[in-house]
């Protein structure tokens, strides 16, 4: 919980402001001077070709990497958190950012319900008097646990997994695991939800279901969503705002429609125009060939 009085408050309506974020690994610059804004109650998508630095950006945001340069500021309840100064687990605990992973990271040997209850660890830990009261079955703790199970049930209903609540999470089909990971992130009661390729490996019907779920999260729970996605049917349909990265740099920024027609984006995804004139030295080289 770090507040900096000297820091200029965020622009109204913004929940997250990333300024001049740079992440270097030795000689490799994975993210290069990227600035972006995420607005409250909006879905902001980050797209870009493979290796553009999207997941690195997420890892900086959620405390897995310490950025080389840059400021990551998040505001909720009138407080500003400077994420680059916070220890990894505190970003979820205090700044209330939840995330999912590109390669699903569920607790495979635990049940679906347990996965969701573990996500409410900090609330339950306080209620159990750091285990002391819990050991003796204090009524306050029992009530807190019932509440946790109710919240878990609520999200299980949202992702259509109530029937499988007592299954081992590792035995779920792939699409169910993706949805369970989102439900688990939502059980931490975040203000910003970061999803790393949630539609990867889903069939078209499951993708449509995902769109539905993300709209629900934005409209009913009124939280902001940050989305990394390759599936354009998801990105173009539900994003309020799209940021495009390429080789670690931000190359475009705007509404889905604006981004789709941006020549820089087309070039990044499809390569240089085939009809473009070749540089003169290459033409000269080619000319020497018989």
């Amino acid at each position: 919980m770090i507040e900096d009085a000297a820091y200029q408050p965020l622009e109204p309506g913004n929940i997250l402001q990333v300024d001049h974020l740079t992440m270097r690994f030795g000689g490799l610059t994975a993210v290069d001077n990227v600035s972006l804004r995420a607005r409250e109650r909006e879905i902001t998508s980050i797209i870009g070709p493979n290796g553009a630095g999207k997941t690195t950006l997420f890892n900086c945001l959620t405390g897995f990497y310490k950025p080389t340069v840059g400021r990551l500021a998040l505001k909720h309840d009138g407080r500003v958190f400077l994420l680059e100064r916070m220890e990894g687990y505190k970003i979820c605990k205090h700044a209330r950012i939840a995330r999912t992973f590109q390669n699903i990271r569920l607790f495979a040997k635990m049940t679906v319900l347990e996965n969701l209850v573990v996500a409410q660890h900090n609330t339950l830990m306080r209620a159990s008097g750091f285990s002391v009261l819990g050991l003796f079955g204090a009524p306050g703790f029992r009530a807190a646990e019932r509440e946790a199970v109710d919240r878990a049930r609520y999200w299980l209903e949202r992702v259509a997994l109530v029937d499988k609540a007592d299954w081992e999470a590792g035995n779920l089909p792939y699409g169910d695991q993706r949805r369970l990971e989102i439900a688990r992130a939502m059980c931490t009661q975040p203000v910003l939800l970061c999803l790393d390729e949630p539609a990867a490996g889903l069939n078209p019907r499951e993708s449509a279901g995902l769109n539905e779920l993300l709209r629900f999260v934005r409209d009913e729970h009124r939280i902001a969503v940050l989305l990394i996605e390759h599936d354009m049917s998801v990105v173009m349909e539900i994003s309020d705002h799209v940021v495009v990265l390429d080789y670690g740099r931000k190359i475009a920024n705007g509404t889905p429609l604006e981004v789709r027609n941006d020549p820089a984006v087309v070039r990044a995804y499809l390569g240089e125009d085939a009809n473009e004139e070749l540089p003169p030295e290459i033409v000269a080289d080619l000319g020497q060939q018989p």
């Binding site: 990894g88 605990k93 995330r99 990271r105 569920l106 573990v118 660890h121 830990m125 609540a165």
Partner: protein, 446 residues
């Protein structure tokens, strides 16, 4: 005038030929082993010894192996199908889980009345006490290895810390067993945190190596810090536990009543009813020690069962499954790991101080690496995280060498063979399968 069509085809290798071949190979291997191991013996003759070769014994052992391998090869294919088929039907599994629910209470009931059963003598109660020490250590290590998934090869260090804390506190400050027990647990927990800090970032093999080193460091300190720990001579005349201030001895020091007088008003009528005489008997102390460790072990079990259902217990299991996901959910991995190390160590400390008071003498030799290995084997054989599995595995690992006492040098061989067999048949441990800490829909079928 033989034509091609008349020539008999080469005989296809049938089952018997294959079996005979395999049996011959096995017998040949046995012969290689048996000639030096079984064949040669030293025999006493007047004026010295002579080397004798026992041809008959070697031939018999080879014949047994040949017959056994042949029988196995002939019946191959039938056996596994029969067994797995029997155990994998839904009915059998449901029956298994129903029996499983009764086994725990039945075992506790048996443990409670065991010293009063007619066959119980001093030796049997003593063995029961040994088994219970290992059951308690297994349950304690289960917190660290089974729940939190931190492979700890130096667990015996905390057992040693508990034992020495008690011996030193009792020796230097004249404290009784019951005063020292919580202190010994606290000291051991403190050492658990001390070990926990440097290994926070380590997992798997690396963690195992560092904890192994820690176990040895503690033992070597105990061995070399002569003026404090007595070095290799150990510490002796450790006080015995008393019963509400009454020592379990024939005569008590000034101002105290011995146990047999103290308990006489209650015990004398009971004994008279049974037609026996109440008075001092040395076995009282053995039985009392047995009940102390039984209570300590049951407390450990109850604690583990409860804490598994608390947020910290779930966080341990989550940490075992995926540490990165834990951090993304706001779980503090440092505190979670340290609490697992501390609580696991605390129970080892309790067990250690019980061990010290039971033996009356401790030395670093009781806390060698092999003890850690046995405790870990108990947890792994029993099935990681299974409380019942620990009991079965501990009984097995302590009773097998005990039963094999008559076979002298072959008992470690039996021990090893038994472990290999368990790992072949049930690689996931004797009792596997995890009970969820919370359910939404209730128990299936119940």
């Amino acid at each position: 005038m033989a034509t091609l069509t008349e020539r008999a085809p080469a005989p296809a290798p049938n089952a018997i030929t294959v079996a005979l071949k395999e049996a011959a190979i096995a017998a040949a291997v046995m012969a290689l082993l048996a000639i030096p191991l079984i064949g040669f013996v030293l025999e006493d003759i007047p004026g010295g010894v002579t080397l004798v070769f026992r041809t008959a014994a070697v031939l018999t052992s080879c014949a047994i192996v040949f017959a056994g391998r042949f029988a196995l090869a002939m019946f191959r294919g039938h056996r596994p199908a029969m067994l797995t088929g029997l155990f994998d039907t839904v009915g059998m599994r449901a029956l298994g889980s129903r029996i499983g629910k009764l086994v725990g209470p039945a075992l506790i009931g048996f443990a409670l009345v065991m010293p009063m059963l007619p066959f119980s003598d001093r030796y049997i109660v003593d063995i029961g006490t040994s088994v219970l020490i290992y059951v308690m250590l297994g349950w304690g290590l289960n917190i660290v290895v089974g729940l939190a998934g931190l492979l700890d090869l130096g667990y015996v260090a905390f057992y040693a810390v508990g034992a020495y804390s008690f011996a030193l506190l009792a020796g230097n400050f004249d404290l009784s067993f019951w005063q020292c027990l919580p202190l010994a647990g606290l000291f051991a927990a403190f050492f658990g945190v001390l070990l926990g800090f440097p290994v926070l970032r380590l997992r798997g093999d690396y963690l195992a190596i560092v904890t192994l080193g820690f176990g040895e460091i503690i033992r070597i300190i105990l061995l070399n810090w002569q003026e404090f720990t007595g070095g290799p001579n150990g510490l002796s005349s450790i006080p015995r536990p008393n019963f509400l201030g009454a020592p379990l001895a024939r005569s008590a020091p000034e101002g105290q009543t011995p146990f047999f007088e103290f308990a006489a008003p209650v015990m004398e009528p009971i004994y008279r009813m049974l037609g026996r005489e109440w008075g001092f008997e040395p076995i009282h102390r053995i039985v009392y020690l047995y009940y102390i460790i039984l209570v300590l072990a049951l407390v450990t079990n109850l604690f583990t069962l409860r804490i598994r259902r608390l947020p910290v217990g779930r966080a341990w299991e989550a940490l075992r499954e995926d540490e990165i996901a834990c951090r993304s959910l706001g779980i503090n991995p440092t505190n979670t790991k340290l609490s697992a190390f501390a609580l696991g160590a605390m129970f080892a400390g309790f067990a250690g101080s019980f061990f010290a008071t039971r033996q009356g003498f401790i030395s670093p030799e009781s806390f060698t690496y092999i003890e850690s290995a046995v405790i870990l084997a108990i947890v792994v054989l029993g099935g990681m995280g299974s409380q019942l599995g620990v009991v079965i595995a501990a009984s097995f690992l302590i009773l097998i060498p005990e039963a094999g006492r008559e076979f002298a040098q072959y008992r470690m061989l039996m021990f090893g063979a038994a472990m290999v067999l368990v790992m072949v048949w049930r690689p996931q441990g004797l009792v596997s399968g995890r009970e969820p800490s919370v359910r939404l829909h209730g128990v299936p079928g119940g």
